[in-house]
């Protein structure tokens, strides 16, 4: 298990996933890695969290979800309204192939099923990238 070694407060990951057992496992894994995790079962719930006072540093969202908005819709909302937020999208390979252009446009993505460690590494890289960008701009 790799943990995030930092004196800084833990980063918060918003996990948006409508399949409860997947959400449960990945959320638990990320908590064990040292992240704070907020769980949302839909893009609608994710929007509610993002519009609240809760701090979120990175969003992991499934592509296909029921409700008024899917993962792409959520990623586009975030790009329009919360450009500070990193987004990682997760989808089936078929879906990803269908919409490769969109995925590329929206950022990094993972195909299901994925190893939790791969996701944790990706999150760490994304958050690291974010910090280096801030340093460059500082």
């Amino acid at each position: 298990m790799t943990t995030i070694a930092s004196a800084a407060p833990p980063s918060t990951v918003l996990v948006v996933e409508d399949e409860v057992l997947i959400r449960m496992n990945i959320s638990q894994y990320l908590r064990e890695c040292g992240y704070r995790v907020i769980e949302a079962v839909s893009a609608d719930e994710a929007l509610e969290v993002l519009q609240s006072a809760h701090e979120v540093n990175i969003v992991l969202t499934d592509v296909q979800m029921p409700g008024s908005m899917d993962g792409f819709g959520l990623a586009k909302w975030i790009r329009a309204n919360r450009r500070d937020l990193q987004v990682i999208m997760v989808g089936t390979p078929e879906r990803a192939a269908d919409t490769a252009a969109d995925l590329c446009e929206e950022g990094p993505n993972l195909s299901k099923p994925y190893e939790p460690q791969v996701l944790a590494d990706l999150i760490r890289r994304q958050l690291g990238l974010d910090k280096s960008r801030k340093m460059v701009g500082a």
Binding site: V20, L21, M24, V41, V49
Partner: protein, 131 residues
Amino acid sequence: MMASAQSAPSKVLATVLLVEDEVLIRLMAANELRKAGFTVIEAAHAREALSVLRSATPVDVLITDIRMPGPIDGVQLATLARELWPNLKIAIASAYTPQWPAVNVIDAFFGKPYNPDRMIERITELLQGIK
């Protein structure tokens, strides 16, 4: 982040399945339970809760809201869970005191809004065998 003021449930490494359809309320209640030392599994409605209970994941305590989207409400979920998993501790949390067709089904009732200290205290008691 400092540890919660209330004492952690010593020697009780219990898993709580929290069933609540309002995300911000679920988030707050789950965070308080985690700060007290519980492992918390979050479910947004009864169908998710049943998926968890039917999986290999051990669950010690079920806390469920009553009014939720979907065909099964919290009272029905509690009744079903009591029948299928008799060792599970079951609590209902609701703003409304329900008309009990199933008063013997649950081990605890929590009014809403949630009072985390009271909830944690009562869950710890239940896990220690205090009725």
